[in-house]
Symmetry: C3
Subunit: 102 residues, 3 copies
């Protein structure tokens, strides 16, 4: 079965951002996403800005262009004032049309 390479976008954020980021994902090209609850910890927390307590992991599989739009939007709009990190990774799927909106 044919395999397509797409991007997995993973965002770890404060729970207060969930609704905003979900709207961002839809507007920027994600046809859906999953949410898992976790927690950040450490002397400096999840990164230099620290995310103590609980956090959310939001994931979406999207086309490469949408992935770049999403990660750039997250960095420009949330990195300064919120505890958020985000990364992209390459994933292989079958039936790639399931994941790409528009």
């Amino acid at each position: 079965m044919a395999v397509t390479t797409l991007k997995l976008v993973t965002i770890i954020c404060e729970p207060v951002l969930e609704a905003k980021i979900e709207q961002d994902l839809k507007r920027l090209g994600a046809s859906g996403y999953t949410v898992t609850e976790g927690r950040g910890a450490g002397s400096r927390g999840l990164h230099a800005d620290a995310i103590p307590g609980s956090n959310l992991r939001i994931e979406a599989i999207v086309a490469p262009a949408a992935a770049e739009r999403i990660i750039t939007w997250i960095a420009e709009h949330y990195f300064e004032h919120y505890s958020v990190i985000a990364w992209l990774s390459d994933v292989q799927v079958v039936r790639g049309d399931k994941y790409v909106s528009g």
Copy 2:
């Protein structure tokens, strides 16, 4: 220490599929797996077919041939009638023999 590249299979599915998919994984070459609970959401849910409410994330590290067998099996047997998505990604491990069955 020598690093080996294997495949991480990630499956997001309705909880009702857990036992079946775990049997599939074992039969198709996974020596084990982890399960995490999450939730899907969105106007169109996790993908075009939507997975409202809770879902499971099942992950296994396997050899590339087993990964292809698993993702093809999942697509052919579940995509039409269930809310399931699945993807592969490359991962590097040490002691690769720990993860490969058979």
Copy 3:
């Protein structure tokens, strides 16, 4: 926005190891991490040594050299006596300086 490739370290372990591994991560170059609870299962569990019951997923984004230090340390110090697996994957981030300590 410029994208940097870093390593995502994922460790699945028994809960009893959490504090030790978090100290390892900090000492070996991770500026933070996230923790999610899951469970392992299967006839042979998560891998040949089996991780029945609950387990933790600890993740950190680090520079490639730190990633190699961490995964080697984990293998050498925990694989023999504990139920632990660990893997690395390539991830792309924006503002890579957020994730790299020192």
